[in-house]
C-alpha cells in the first residue's frame, strides 16, 4: 500500500480512523528500507524486530483509544541520541560498542508519545561536518542522485525522510546540521531556539549551540513533532523555562502585513540559480500579503570565524571525556576530522591564547546577537537561502579542513544567536537537485516561522516532489 510515503499528519489521521494499522505502516517502511539500503546507507542500525514489536503494542493501544500524539508512527533518530539498550555510535568507531543505559530526553519523550523506532541514522562522526562523509560507517548518498552528498551532519535522517524509508526523523543542529541536509535533500528541517528542546542524552558537540529538532515531509509535521519535544527538562540546566506554544494552532494564520527582512550579504556567496529561486519565493510571499524589506545584517563571513573558534573549543572539551575507560574505545580511534577539531579547540583554549581567540569570539558573538535584535525591531522574520550551493558530489569534503563551515555560512550567524530557523523546499536546480529557503525568527518564535513556512508551502508544490529511486 506504500504507507511509508505518508506524511506524519496523514499517518496519524489514518491510524485514528483505523484505515490501516501501525504494524502495516511499519512493515511498509521496513520493506522500503530493505530495498534501498545499503545503497543509500542512511542507517547505522536498523531495528526490524523491535519496531514490529512496538508497532503491535501501539495497535493494541489504538484499539483502546489511547490519545498519544505520535502513537504508532514509525520514526528514525540520529545516532547521536542515547537510546536505552540500543547501540549509539555518533557514527564514530570510538563508540562502536556503546550501548547506553538510559534514553536521551528527546527519545523518552518520543517513546512516551507512542512513536515506533525504526532505527538510528547515519551522520558525520560526532556531528562534525556537513556531508555525512566523515561517518566511520561510510557516507550516506543523496536520494536525488546517488553520486551526490546528502549534506550533514544529519544526512542519514534527511535522506531517509525524502526516500520514504520513514514517516519522520529527528536530527540535531549545531550550525546547519538540520537545515543544510534538509535543503540538500528537499525536505523540511526545523532548528528550534537554543534551549527549546533538551540536550540531555545528546552526545555533545558544541554545548552552547546544540539544538535537537525534526526533519519532516511537511511543515505541519515539524510543528507536530516540536510539540512533543519542546519544554524545560530538569536534566538540562540550559533548557528554557519559557512556556512552549501550541505550534499547530497558528499554522494557517493570514500573513498579510508580515515584514520579511532580506540581507544582500546573504546572497553574495550564493549560486545564481539559487538566488533566482529565492527571489521567486519572496514574490510568492508578497502575493500572500508580506512586504519585503532590504536590511543590512552583520556580514556572515565573520560568523564563520566566531563559529569555528567557539565550536572547536567546545568540541575539544566535550570529547575529552572519551578515554575508553567508562565506555567505548580509546582516543586512538578518533578519525581525522575529530582530531583536527580537538587540536584547534585545545590550542585556542590553552594558556596565553584564550583571550586572543576564545574571548574575542565570545565578544563578537554578542555583536551578532545585538545585530539580530536590532533587525527584529524592523522586520518580523528574515529570509534567505539555506546553503550557498545545491548538493555537491561525493568526495567534495575530503581534504578541505573548513568544508562544513563554508557550506554552513548562511546558518552560522543565526545559530550563534540561538535563533530558530526552518528550511523548506523552494525549487530545483537545472541539474534536478533541491534548493532550500530558510526563515529565521527571534528567539522562541517557532510558531511564527512555522506559520510563514506553512503559508508558502500551501501556495506551492515543491514539497510534493520525490526522487525516482
Amino acid at each position: 500500500m506504500d504507507l511509508n510515503k505518508l506524511s506524519l499528519k496523514q499517518a496519524l489521521d489514518g491510524l485514528k480512523n483505523r484505515e490501516f494499522s501501525a504494524e502495516e505502516i511499519t512493515r511498509d517502511c521496513l520493506e522500503r528500507i530493505k530495498s534501498l539500503e545499503p545503497a543509500l546507507n542512511a542507517f547505522v542500525t536498523i531495528l526490524e524486530e523491535e519496531a514490529l514489536k512496538s508497532a503491535k503494542e501501539a495497535d493494541d493501544r489504538i484499539r483502546n483509544r489511547s490519545g498519544l500524539p505520535l502513537l504508532g508512527v514509525p520514526f528514525v533518530i540520529k545516532d547521536n541520541f542515547c537510546t536505552l539498550g540500543i547501540r549509539t555510535t555518533a557514527s564514530s568507531r570510538v563508540l562502536d560498542n556503546f550501548v547506553p543505559p538510559y534514553d536521551a530526553t528527546v527519545v523518552s519523550k518520543l517513546k512516551d508519545a507512542g512513536m515506533v523506532l525504526l532505527g538510528k541514522t547515519n551522520m558525520d562522526a560526532w556531528a562534525h561536518g556537513s556531508s555525512t562523509e566523515t561517518s566511520d560507517y561510510g557516507s550516506t548518498k543523496n536520494p536525488w542522485d546517488l553520486g551526490y552528498l546528502p549534506g550533514g551532519s544529519s544526512g542519514g535522517s534527511a535522506a531517509s525522510v525524502i526516500a520514504d524509508e520513514t514517516i519522520g526523523a529527528i536530527g540535531s543542529e549545531t550550525a546547519g546540521s538540520i537545515r543544510q541536509p534538509a535543503s540538500w535533500c528537499g525536505i523540511v528541517g526545523l532548528k528550534p531556539t537554543y534551549g527549546r528542546v533538551s540536550r540531555y542524552g545528546l552526545i555533545a558537540m558544541g554545548s552552547s549551540l546544540d539544538s535537537p529538532g525534526p526533519l519532516s515531509k511537511t511543515v505541519e509535521d515539524s510543528a507536530l513533532v516540536l510539540q512533543v519535544l519542546a519544554g524545560q527538562d530538569q536534566f538540562d540546566a540550559t533548557s528554557s523555562p519559557v512556556k512552549a506554544d501550541n505550534y499547530t494552532k497558528d499554522l494557517s494564520k493570514n500573513i498579510d502585513g508580515l515584514v520579511v527582512g532580506v540581507s544582500a550579504d546573504y546572497f553574495s556567496v550564493v549560486a545564481e540559480e539559487i538566488k533566482e529561486k529565492i527571489a521567486d519565493a519572496l514574490a510568492e510571499l508578497e502575493k500572500l500579503g508580506a512586504t519585503i524589506k532590504q536590511i543590512k545584517l552583520f556580514d556572515p563571513k565573520y560568523a564563520i570565524a566566531v563559529y569555528t573558534i567557539l565550536q572547536r573549543a567546545e568540541v575539544s572539551s566535550n570529547l575529552a571525556r572519551f578515554d575508553g575507560i567508562r565506555y567505548g574505545y580509546g582516543r586512538e580511534e578518533f578519525g581525522e576530522e575529530a582530531k583536527r577539531r580537538i587540536m584547534l579547540g585545545t590550542y585556542v583554549l590553552s594558556a596565553g591564547y584564550y583571550d586572543q581567540y576564545y574571548s574575542k569570539a565570545q565578544k563578537v558573538r554578542t555583536v551578532i546577537v545585538d545585530d539580530f535584535k536590532k533587525a527584529f525591531q524592523e522586520v518580523d522574520v528574515i529570509i534567505g537561502p539555506t546553503a550557498p550551493s545545491v548538493a555537491l558530489p561525493l568526495g567534495s569534503s575530503k581534504n578541505h579542513p573548513m568544508f562544513g563551515e563554508i557550506a554552513d555560512i548562511l546558518v552560522e550567524p543565526s545559530t550563534i544567536a540561538g535563533l530558530p530557523g526552518i528550511s523548506i523546499p523552494c525549487g530545483f536546480s537545472n541539474s534536478g537537485l533541491p534548493i532550500g529557503m530558510q526563515i529565521i525568527g527571534p528567539q522562541f518564535s517557532e510558531s511564527l516561522i512555522l506559520n510563514v513556512a506553512y503559508k508558502y508551502e500551501q501556495a506551492t508544490a515543491w514539497h510534493k516532489e520525490k526522487p525516482k529511486l
Binding site: 543505559p101 540550559t238 575507560i325 567505548g328 574505545y329 586512538e332 554578542t366
Partner: protein
C-alpha cells in the same frame, strides 16, 4: 599565527592525542590556515561588548536537592572495558610508590 611542529606536538599532548608524523605536518599547515582566517575577527572593534556565555540569558539554574532513581552500579559499569569488584579499573596514574 604560524604554528611550529613542536607546538602541534605540545597541543596533541595536552589533548591526549597520539599523532603520526605525517599528521603533525598536515595539522601544522591546516591549523595555521584556520587560525589565520580566525584572525579576521581582529577587524571588529569589540571594546564595548561583553561576552555571551549563555545565549538565552539563563543563569544559576537550581533544582530540588532530592534523590531520584538513577543508574545501578551494574548499569554504570556495563560499558567499561575493564572492571573489578564493581569499580572501573584503570592503569596507575602515579609511578613508583
Amino acid at each position: 599565527m604560524r604554528l611550529t611542529e613542536d607546538q602541534v606536538r605540545h597541543v596533541a599532548k595536552l589533548a591526549n592525542l597520539f599523532l603520526a608524523e605525517e599528521e603533525i605536518v598536515k595539522f601544522k599547515s591546516q591549523l595555521s590556515e584556520t587560525l589565520k582566517s580566525a584572525e579576521e575577527l581582529n577587524q571588529i572593534d569589540t571594546a564595548k561588548f561583553e561576552i555571551t556565555p549563555q545565549v538565552t540569558g539563563l543563569s544559576n539554574i537550581m533544582r530540588l536537592d532530592a534523590t531520584v532513581p538513577s543508574l545501578t552500579q551494574d548499569q554504570a559499569l556495563q560499558n567499561a572495558r575493564s572492571k573489578e569488584n564493581g569499580y572501573f579499573k584503570v592503569k596507575a596514574v602515579f609511578e613508583g610508590d
